[in-house]
Amino acid sequence: MLLDYDRMGWLKIALLGFTALVAAFLLLPVVFIVLLSFGSSRWLAFPPPGWTLKWYRDLFADPSWLEAALTSARIATMTAILAVMIGLLASFALVRGQFRGREILRGLLLTPMVLPVVVFAIAIYAFFLRLGLGGTSIGFVIAHTVLALPFAIIPIATALEGFDKSIEDAAIVCGASPFEARLRITLPSIRIGIFSAAIFSFLASWDEVVVAIFMASPSLQTLPVKIWGSLRSDLSPVIAAASSLLVGLTLALMVVTALLQRKVKT
């Protein structure tokens, strides 16, 4: 009866209790950081002696934070667009193509997800130094697209595998060109996969620390590089304020995702 929720007795209570504890553990740092960002203690004492918006004012008073956030947003957007376009094309080949070595190529394209980022980071850093792309936006976008590609291919390929190709064939029989059939029948049907791919590849770039640390230059810093630098010098509450805004962004992204998924289901 171990998989019958209603007939597990005390075991269910114990396991649910444990699950609640783990959920609390997962939630703890996120909630903590938001509370801390409103706390008045410079030394991050908790519970804080009072509440303040000072750290948010400090954050917005320093233009380098906003600049870093805008740089990150720009690079992550370009990365997401590129990764989704390249990933979409690759997914069609990987799912439907009939050629030798398809499985090996699939493995190759997904390798950036498995290889430790630090290895890729120093490799691409050295490579871009020679090409003169170190510390440039283009360099960032290329490196992040490599890292984001697996996260774009996986959801799109999964969606495409679940799509019944005979519907597309039917459109062609009814007179649509193959391109038109893909554009107007297949793409809308796998839009959840494409949307997930866009979110994942955006996050892969937006959150990326290691390549960014190596690639960044004084004139080009992404948000993670800015946070990393501040973390290494001190644990200022301004980081908590910046972090809380990032948590807010994550929540917004989750709500949008949930709404879109609901819309698709109905």
Binding site: M1, L3, A23, F46, L115, I122, T145, A240, L246, L251
Partner: protein
């Protein structure tokens, strides 16, 4: 969009030009700098200091994997069978934690675990300890921070594995007189083993090469491999030694990746995320 090989070309060009070539060029440096030969590898494998870094790395990865598997299993089990309204709340928490900026989460743990942090204060207040525990700048801090990051990667695929198990098999076991412990040991656990092995291997591989959390929560005296590689390149500018260390890490991880592909198959694994 041709469905044949052609539409794979942009991805292949990107990966070959900006992934395969740079990584191979890096590996070449490990046998050519400062002079041709294998002396970098000899240094890394022959020196006790480096041996300790390798040992630390494997130790932390193994402990993190073990803890993650044990903690994730009951959660995934409940998520697989609980009413969907309740499950979606827990899933929400997991996604929130997973999607929150990595540095944000690590920063939170730095503050929580420090000597005067909330956790030490709470333990002192309850009276479990009478002086603050050293929870940060050591392997304890690294382990806590890494388990936190890895849990979603273990829980989410495991829910899929558990959901695919037919509850009838366990009902049958109970009807035939199996005690819950027997049913767990002889049916539920073996049936979820593929998911556990795949997830565990993934967590182990990710932990081996992890950089951010060990660098921020770990101490200088017990460095992990990824951190050491970054330091060799960034601070010491020793490209030969750094790329040799990177190559060793790469070989270990690729071997484990191959094992994982054999174990679960590329399709199953990629569908897991």
């Amino acid at each position: 969009m041709p469905a044949g090989f052609n539409s794979l070309l942009p991805a292949l060009v990107l990966i070959v030009l900006f992934f395969v070539v740079p990584v191979l060029a890096l590996l070449l440096r490990s046998v050519t700098e400062p002079e041709p030969g294998l002396q970098n590898y000899a240094t890394l494998l022959g020196d006790g200091t480096y041996a300790r870094v390798f040992f630390n790395t494997f130790l932390v990865a193994a402990v993190v994997t073990a803890v993650t598997v044990v903690v994730a299993f009951p959660v995934a089990w409940m998520l697989a069978i609980m009413p969907s309204a309740l499950a979606s709340i827990i899933f929400g928490v997991i996604i929130l934690s997973m999607w929150t900026n990595l540095l944000t989460r690590t920063y939170a743990w730095m503050v929580l675990l420090q000597r005067t942090g909330v956790i030490n204060r709470a333990l002192l207040a309850i009276g479990i300890i009478d002086q603050p525990l050293p929870l940060i700048n050591n392997l304890t801090g690294v382990t806590i921070g890494m388990v936190y990051i890895m849990l979603p990667f273990m829980i989410l695929p495991l829910v899929g594995t558990l959901r695919a198990i037919d509850p009838m098999t366990l009902r049958a076991a109970a009807l035939c007189g199996a005690s819950p412990i027997q049913a767990f040991r002889r049916i539920l656990l073996p049936l979820s083993l593929p998911g556990l092995a795949a997830g565990g291997l993934m967590v182990f591989v990710m932990s081996l090469g992890y950089f951010v959390t060990p660098a921020l929560l770990g101490g200088t005296s017990n460095m992990m491999l990824a951190e050491m590689i970054a330091q060799m390149i960034q601070s010491l500018l020793n490209w030969g030694l750094g790329s040799a260390a990177a190559f060793i890490l790469l070989v270990v991880i690729m071997a484990l990746y191959a094992l994982q592909l054999r174990l679960v198959g590329a399709r199953r694994m990629t569908g897991g995320i």
